[in-house]
C-alpha cells in the first residue's frame, strides 16, 4: 500500500496560519493503515491545531471528516457541504487524494498534511518499508521476489555493487540489507542461482511514461 508520513508540524502550522476555518480531511485506506492520515490522525491533528492556535490567541475552527478513499471522486463529493463552509482544506491523504480533493473543489486551496513516500508494507508493527517502485516492468520472478529497483539503493539490475558492508548490509545505510545479498540468499534457497548469473540488459525506464495513464479494456 501507499505509505505516507505526516509533515513536520511547523510546516502544517505555517500553511494553516492565514486561515480561521478549515476542513481536516482524512482517508480511511492506505494512510489510515500506516497511521499517517486516518480518522484517528485527523482527530489528533485537528486537536493539536486548535490547542496551538488557542495558545497563540488566534483561534482556528476545524471541521473533521474522513472518507473511505480520498482518491475516489464519488466519495470526496460527499464532503462538498463541509468544504463550502471552510476557507481551506488540510488533507491527510496521499498525493492522489490531495489532488482529487483539489480537482473537485477548485476554488479552495488544498494543503497536503502528509508526505507520500513509497509503496510498501509493514515489516513489523509501526515499521514500514519500501517494496515496489512502480516501474511498470515487473521482473520479481527473476529476483526471488525481491525488487532491486527500490530495495537496492542504486537500483542495480546486475548487483551487488562493490560497496556491500560486512554481513551483507548496504553501503549507504548499515541498517539496511543489501538487496542483492538478499536476492542471492533467496535464490540459493530455491536452487535458482542461475537467474542471478544471467546478464540483465539496461532497463526500460520508459515502461510507464509519466504521467501514467491506463485505459481498462473491459466496459
Amino acid at each position: 500500500m501507499i505509505i505516507a508520513e505526516r509533515k513536520p508540524m511547523e510546516e502544517i502550522k505555517q500553511a494553516m496560519a492565514p486561515y480561521k476555518k478549515v476542513l481536516v480531511a482524512g482517508c480511511g485506506t492506505c494512510v489510515a493503515v500506516c497511521w499517517a492520515g486516518g480518522e484517528k490522525e485527523v482527530e489528533i491533528l485537528a486537536s493539536q491545531l486548535r490547542l496551538a492556535r488557542s495558545a497563540e490567541g488566534n483561534e482556528i475552527v476545524t471541521l473533521e471528516a474522513t472518507v473511505e478513499r480520498q482518491c475516489e471522486k464519488e466519495m470526496v463529493e460527499e464532503l462538498k457541504d463541509k468544504v463550502a463552509e471552510v476557507e481551506a482544506v488540510l488533507s491527510l491523504a496521499c498525493g492522489s487524494g490531495v489532488q482529487t480533493m483539489a480537482e473537485l473543489f477548485e476554488d479552495k486551496p488544498v494543503f497536503p498534511a502528509v508526505n507520500t513516500t513509497f509503496i510498501g508494507m509493514p515489516e513489523k508493527e509501526g515499521l514500514w518499508v519500501e517494496m515496489c517502485g512502480a516501474c511498470g516492468d515487473c521482473f520479481l520472478d527473476r529476483t526471488g521476489g525481491i525488487c532491486p529497483i527500490v530495495r537496492c539503493a542504486k537500483g542495480l539490475l546486475n548487483g551487488p555493487c562493490g560497496g556491500t558492508r560486512k554481513g551483507g548490509k548496504c553501503e549507504i545505510d548499515p541498517e539496511k540489507d543489501c538487496a542483492w545479498v538478499l536476492i542471492y540468499r533467496r535464490l540459493e534457497k530455491q536452487g535458482r542461482l542461475d537467474l542471478m548469473r544471467e546478464y540483465y540488459s539496461p532497463k526500460n525506464f520508459r515502461a510507464v511514461k509519466r504521467p501514467g495513464r491506463i485505459q481498462a479494456a473491459k466496459a
Binding site: M9, K13, K40, E43, I44, S47, Q48, L49, R50, L51, A52, S54, A55
Partner: protein, 128 residues
C-alpha cells in the same frame, strides 16, 4: 473544566482508591474531576487532548500497578499513550500543562492523594 485536574481513574484501582481517600477524609484539592473508566487502557490520546482543550490544568491517567492490570496490558498501553500525548503537545509547544500516568492499587488511597498533590504542585510552580 476550566482550571481543573482531570483524572481518568481505572475502576479496578484508582477509582476505589479515590473513593477510600474520600471515606478516610484525606485531603486533596477540590478542583479534581474524576472520570471513571473500565481500564486505564480505555483512555485514548484524543480524550486527553480534548480535556486540555476544554481548559483542564492537568490530566492524570491512573491505572493498576505493573503486572496487575485486569485487562493484562491496559496500563502499559496507557503509559505509552501518555508518553505519546506529551510528545504531541511538545510538537505544538503546548506542553505547559502536565499530563502524567500513575500506577496504584485499590487499597492505596494515600498514593492517589499524593499523585494529585504532586500534580497540583507542578501546576502552581509553573504559574498557572
Amino acid at each position: 473544566m476550566n482550571g481543573c485536574i482531570v483524572a481518568f481513574c481505572c475502576e479496578h484501582s484508582a477509582y476505589p482508591a479515590a473513593d477510600l481517600a474520600g471515606k478516610l477524609r484525606l485531603h486533596y484539592p477540590e478542583n479534581l474531576r474524576v472520570i471513571r473508566v473500565p481500564c486505564a487502557g480505555r483512555v485514548d490520546v484524543i480524550h486527553i487532548l480534548k480535556a486540555l482543550e476544554k481548559g483542564a490544568a492537568a490530566v492524570l491517567v491512573l491505572g493498576c500497578e505493573d503486572g496487575a492490570c485486569h485487562h493484562i496490558t491496559g496500563n502499559t498501553r496507557a503509559k505509552e499513550r501518555v508518553k505519546y500525548c506529551n510528545m504531541l503537545l511538545k510538537e505544538v509547544q503546548v506542553d505547559g500543562r502536565p499530563v502524567a500516568m500513575f500506577n496504584l492499587s485499590p487499597n492505596a488511597p494515600h498514593k492517589f492523594v499524593s499523585a494529585v498533590n504532586e500534580i497540583t504542585k507542578i501546576i502552581k510552580e509553573s504559574g498557572r
